[in-house]
């Protein structure tokens, strides 16, 4: 009962690696794979397949069984569960496993998994017990028992037993000082670094929907405090913020002392070694104190008052026109065609920083074809030296567009939008058979370096318990995912 195992499928739906299933019948994993493949084949879009698929247990029909699955690059990872288990446990475990692979190999793909078959297998063995209980999933503990594929271990693998017999096969870090000997479950004992460093990344992701009038309907920033910790010994850290009230709905890594946080809003913790997510939060302006109540009492909920949403750092004007002039008359025998024009302008509202890697995507509908567009920079910078410099610096990185004819998605890419510039996309397209029904929403993705929506500011990072003076760094970064309706 619980998580039965993990199966990694390639993009053709074949199993590459699977963990050892306890199940008495070998048909069980095959049934799970089959159920997922069938569901995928039946769905019009692979993303629309239900994430939990009910599967009949082959040997004992009294056991409810289902298959959680997620796509991950060109792989699909299945996590069959049985018994009345929370599917979220399955998904949480899948996520954890993908994170582990990411940490070990720097990416997850078919090629990587095939190249590191042995390590993946060991990871499967160590993370999941055959009765369905996740075992060791913290990076710190795992690294002690499953060696990451370093250059040295590759060498070791290439050479055969004789080298190994002589070499004794000690990893670079020296023999682990007894795995699981650490008193703190998330931190391994006896960590030593020549230079002690701790970097804190505050990453915020803006999730917003903007309506036709350009007014944000919903807009929240979801923040993540990610830490890269390379500190020797057992340091005790205290992280203070000048404005901790911007963080609402916080959730924390287990290392954070919750009592300290609720008492004086200090994050006090003994960090795990390496990279980890310290905390997650939501930022919505002016709802910091007892959020639910004030908003409920506030009757102005028809449209959120401007104070309640995170401002969108740009504005878009989009126009879409479809002419129904030619060919609508069926008697001519020509296929009906509906030419249309589209134009869109992006303006940056932010005055201090450029936004980068802007992707604007628009689904043009089933029968769209003959797309012709011009992406250009309309006006820029109003003579500001900085923006001129920046665009000069960017060099060839100017706006471009492309059309994915399979997904019918028009994509407009602007690598760098300096402050106060206007960018536009103008073009035409045609649609046959039906009037074109482009989606009424532009999907915009972007990044802003060294900026956070919440303006969360780290006041101080105190590290006690160890004698050294570590190097500390804090960095903010924002990404956004905005749906802009027109």
């Amino acid at each position: 009962m619980g998580i039965d195992g993990l199966i990694i499928l390639d993009n053709a739906g074949r199993s590459i690696i699977q963990s050892g299933f306890r199940s008495t019948t070998p048909a069980y994993p095959l049934l799970q794979i089959d159920a997922v493949n069938t569901a995928l084949a039946a769905a019009s879009r692979p993303t629309d397949v239900d994430p939990v698929i009910q599967v009949q247990h082959p040997s004992n029909s009294d056991i409810p069984s289902a298959c959680c699955h997620v796509a991950c690059g060109d792989l699909r990872i299945l996590c069959p569960i049985s018994g009345n288990v929370d599917p979220l446990v399955g998904f949480a475990f899948l996520q954890t496993f993908v994170d582990i692979l990411q940490e070990y190999f720097g990416g997850v793909s078919l090629a990587i998994v095939k190249d590191n078959f042995d390590v993946v297998y060991q990871l499967l063995e160590e993370t999941l017990d055959s009765v369905g209980h996740p075992l060791t999933t913290s990076h710190n503990a795992l690294r002690d028992i499953v060696l990451p594929p370093s250059l040295f271990s590759k060498l070791l693998n290439a050479a055969t037993a004789n080298l190994a017999a002589i070499g004794g096969g000690t990893p670079i870090q020296g023999p682990p000082a007894g795995p699981f000997s650490s008193q703190i479950p998330w931190r391994k004992a006896g960590v030593k670094y020549a230079s002690n460093e701790m970097y804190i990344d505050v990453n915020e992701n803006l999730q917003a929907i903007v309506n036709k009038q350009g007014v944000p309907l919903t807009s929240s920033a979801y923040g993540k405090i990610e830490v890269a910790c390379r500190l020797s010994g057992t340091p005790d850290c205290t992280l203070n913020f000048t404005n901790p009230q911007v963080m609402t709905d916080c959730s924390f890594h287990p290392c954070v002392r919750l009592q300290r946080w609720s008492r004086d809003k200090h994050m006090s913790f003994i960090p795990p070694d390496g990279h980890f997510v310290l905390a997650e939060y939501r930022y919505t302006p002016n709802t910091n104190s007892n959020s639910a109540i004030t908003r409920f009492a506030n009757p102005s909920s028809t449209a959120p008052s401007p104070k309640e949403v995170v401002p969108i750092p740009f504005a878009i004007k989009a126009k879409f026109e479809v002419e129904e002039t030619t060919g609508t008359n069926g008697a001519t025998g020509r296929a009906a065609s509906f030419p249309g024009t589209l134009s869109a302008t992006v303006m940056l509202m932010l005055t201090t920083r450029p936004i980068e890697n802007v992707f604007v995507e628009l689904n043009l509908g089933e029968s769209a074809h003959a797309i012709k567009c011009v992406a250009s920079r309309e006006s820029g910078g109003l003579g500001r030296g900085l923006s001129a410099l920046e665009s000069g610096h960017a060099g060839s990185a100017s706006a471009s567009w492309s059309f994915d004819s399979r997904k019918k998605v028009l994509r407009w890419e602007i690598p760098n939008v300096p402050p106060s510039t206007h960018w536009s996309l103008q073009g035409s397209f045609a649609a046959s058979t039906t009037p074109p029904r482009p989606s009424h929403a532009l999907q915009v993705r972007f990044e802003i370096q060294s900026h956070t929506f919440s303006a969360l500011k780290v006041d101080q990072l105190k590290i006690t318990g160890e004698g050294y003076k570590p190097y500390k760094g804090v960095r903010g970064r924002s990404t956004g995912n905005v749906e802009w309706r027109w």
Binding site: M1, G20, R22, T47, D48, D50, P51, V52, Q54, S61, D62, P64, I81, G83, N84, V85, D86, P87, L88, V89, F91, A92, K114, F117, Y121, Q122, E125, E126, V131, H133, T137, L156, N157, T160, A164, G169, G178, P179, F180, S181, P185, L217, T218, Y222, D249, S251, P254, L258, E280, R282, A292, F296, S301, T302, P304, S439, H440, A441, Q443, E483
Partner: protein, 728 residues
């Protein structure tokens, strides 16, 4: 230590298992892997890679694996705790009877090992052993040891012990008494107050998976009094801030369960308020996690509507959301609708109705109707939005809007007659039976206010035999209504439709209804009037989609398959069989008779519904499970109504033979407990109209008079039957 022999055995085994499965090319790649494995084995660093090979082997050729056992037994004394743990784990994985006997001694030692990693591995191994050979666990006193280990100083050991005990508990309680040699009482993991406190301490210090195991155990605990329940809730609430969603959901479950006993209202409110943020946070996760969260939120909202009451905006759909997420969000948005947020909601729904995905558009239109039915003040706005949508002339939007308008007419009779001409203008474009039937119902209902009602209905009467049965039934009723309202001008058309329906129609339902009308009209027009034109109870939107008793059970299973499917575990386990004594066992003795009865009924209905899912294919409740489940939901709603419960209680002693013989609808027989479920069928006459689904008006019309007095259906039923017999 004899590593040599093992590494020699290794490649041979690997070949046999792998060559059989893989192509030559793949094989070469794997061979390299195996070589690497063997190399590292010899180094003594990665012997665990041999385990999967051995496990495969143990299944096919157990006698050979015996040869490896000695090594494992030796390994279990290795100075390296990792090796000790691995040896125990491996032996537990090898599902060969002969190995098991060698396992006991090392396991005994491992349970007392000084290293927590070995102890926690050993704890899980006991559960595996129990699965293979329960006698051994009992004989060696492993269970007692596990119970002692709940007091272990290491929280991870506690968590794994809890997981192992829970596994044994489930295995012991679910298996039939065939394993009678074992005294079941000792295998039951009974959580006492002392254990409770240890669990609460360990909860804050173990890994996310350990927390889930402990929280699940806490959910099973029956608190002694409300003070203890409060204590548990307060100790569990910090888990809401855990970064792992499954911990959050397990904590929500524990709080929801123990909240039942919390008497302090302010504390209850406070707990519910604290529950909202973590649930909202889950919505920023990947779509799969969102979906599970949404399904659970949907359930929680049915129990606690005040939860998330101000958070409707986080449920707004994005164009790129997968369909399953959108559908779930839509349902929740309607649930959260109130007079304050209805404007924002409506403009959202209107937006969705212009999207490309047909299913989603239909559900959005339906949601507009549900909002109108739910919030009186917003009805007019909803109607205006629907009119705007009808003006787009997109076929499926128009059709769905008309179906929805019919519900609005039922809820607010004689309020929006002004829109009828607009609806009728689209008559030619309708090609779906449901939309047609809905429009015909509207025409019939307002026949006296529509000047050309007879012309419009004539269109349908002329093509009567070509229409689908629901449309035929509706046409029949509408024409009779027309005749009763305007007898002078519609003599001919009513004659025509009754003739056609009784002579040329091959559906027994249609024919019989025509006979009944004919008889009524010819015998006693006043009676006909009181039956056909009687006042219909207005519909309302159900607050819950599952019966309260089932809901209560599902709340206890938040964060489980049951809560995601919105069905109690029993119903999707196996083939949907559910014996009466199984239910008896399920329902605790502590519950009072009434709730026991209703749980039982509801469960039976769910089961019955599942067996006849094809009959329940309404497909219009916003639900990802498609037609089957939404039909179920509607049925369950029916059960939630006391009148329906009466009806079922009445008919259970008095089988529906009479009804069946009248309508000759054989397919109804297995459905004796769910009379409302046949779409537009004769049985629909007993629909009391609470469900805002399409079947309601068609059905209610047929026997509106009957359904107005649902308390005593059987006698009423007799009358038409006699008439009918007389007719023959």
């Amino acid at each position: 230590m004899s590593k040599g022999p093992r590494s020699i055995r290794g490649p041979g085994k690997a070949k046999t298992t792998i060559v059989s499965r893989r192509s030559q090319h793949e094989y070469r790649k794997r061979k390299d892997d195996i070589k690497r494995v063997i190399a590292s084995m010899t180094v003594g660093k990665r012997r665990k890679l041999v385990v999967p090979i051995l496990m495969n082997y143990a299944k096919t050729q157990p006698e050979l694996v015996i040869l490896a056992v000695n090594t494992f037994v030796k390994d279990s004394d290795d100075p390296n705790p990792l090796v000790r743990a691995l040896a125990i784990r491996t032996m537990g994985c090898l599902r060969a009877e002969k190995i098991i006997d060698y396992l006991c001694d090392p396991l005994q030692k491992a349970l007392r090992d000084e290293n927590p990693y070995v102890r926690k591995t050993a704890a899980l191994c006991v559960a595996k052993l129990y699965d293979l050979k329960p006698e051994l666990v009992m004989e060696n006193g492993f269970l007692e040891q596990l119970h002692d280990m709940i007091s272990d100083s290491n929280p991870m050991v506690v968590a794994n012990t809890v997981a192992a005990l829970t596994d044994i508990h489930i295995a012991a309680t679910s298996s039939e008494p065939s394993t009678s040699s074992i005294d079941n009482s000792s295998t039951v993991f009974h959580i006492t107050t002392a254990i409770l406190n240890k669990l609460l301490v360990a909860l804050n210090e173990c890994s996310e998976w350990g927390r889930v195991a402990i929280l699940n155990a806490l959910a099973r605990y029956t608190a002694a009094d409300d003070k203890e329940s409060e204590h548990i809730c307060e100790r569990v609430v910090p888990q809401f801030q855990h970064i792992n969603g499954s911990v959050v959901l397990a904590a929500v479950k524990v709080v929801m369960i123990h909240l039942r006993n919390v008497k302090r209202e302010d504390l209850g409110k406070q707990l519910i308020r604290k529950m909202a943020p973590p649930l909202v946070t889950l919505l920023s996760s990947p779509p799969e996690v969102q979906w599970v969260a949404l399904r659970n939120i949907n359930l929680l909202l049915q129990k606690r509507p005040e939860l998330l009451s101000s958070e409707i905006r986080v449920f707004f759909c994005k164009y790129n959301d997968p369909l399953y997420v959108k559908v779930e969000k839509l349902d929740i948005m309607v649930r959260l609708a109130n007079d304050k947020n209805v404007d924002a909601l409506l403009s959202e729904l209107k937006e969705y109705a212009s999207e490309v995905d047909v299913d989603f558009v239909r559900k959005s239109v339906k949601a507009i109707g549900q909002t109108a039915v739910k919030i009186d003040e917003a009805a007019e706005k909803c109607v205006n939005v629907l009119l705007e949508l009808i003006a787009t002339r997109v076929s499926y939007v128009v059709q769905e809007a008309i179906v929805v308008m019919k519900d609005i007419f039922r809820k607010y009779p004689s309020t929006y007659e002004g829109v009828i001409p607009t609806l009728c203008a689209n008559l030619d474009e309708l090609d779906e039976p449901e939309a047609k039937a809905s429009l015909i119902w509207i025409i019939g209902e307002y026949a006296n206010k529509i000047d050309n009602a007879d012309e419009l209905l004539t269109l349908f009467v002329d093509t009567f035999t070509e229409e689908s049965y629901p449309v035929q039934l509706q046409t029949l009723t509408a024409v009779v209504k027309l005749f009763l309202k305007k007898p002078d001008s519609s003599q001919a058309i009513v004659q025509q439709v009754l003739n056609t329906a009784t002579k040329d129609c091959d559906s027994p339902d249609v024919r019989d209804r025509a006979y009944i009308y004919w008889r009524l009209l010819s015998m006693d027009p006043a009676a006909a009037k009181s039956v056909v034109l009687s006042h219909r109870p207005p519909i309302s939107i159900p607050r819950t989609t599952v019966a309260p008793a089932v809901l209560e059970e599902l709340i206890g299973e938040i964060g489980s398959l049951a809560s995601v499917y919105h069905k109690p575990a029993e119903t999707f386990i196996g083939k949907g069989r559910l014996s009466a004594d199984a239910i008896q066992r399920k329902v605790g003795p502590g519950e009072d008779d009434e709730s026991q009865l209703s749980t039982q009924k509801a469960l039976q209905t769910v089961v019955a519904g599942q067996q006849s899912e094809n009959l329940l294919d309404f497909g219009d409740e916003p639900s990802t499970e498609g037609g089957g489940l939404s039909g179920l939901a509607a049925t369950q709603t029916m059960l939630a109504q006391p009148a329906a419960a009466n009806l079922i209680a009445g008919t259970s002693s008095n089988p529906l033979d009479d009804l069946v013989s009248i309508f000759g609808n054989v397919s109804m027989q297995p459905m004796s407990a769910t009379p409302s479920a046949a779409p537009g069928g004769g049985f629909g006459g007993f629909d009391f109209g609470q469900a805002p689904t399409s079947a309601a008006p068609q059905a209610v019309d047929a026997f509106a008079g009957l359904s107005a007095t649902p308390a005593a259906p059987p006698p009423q039923q007799q009358k038409p039957q006699e008439d009918l017999l007389g007719l023959f």
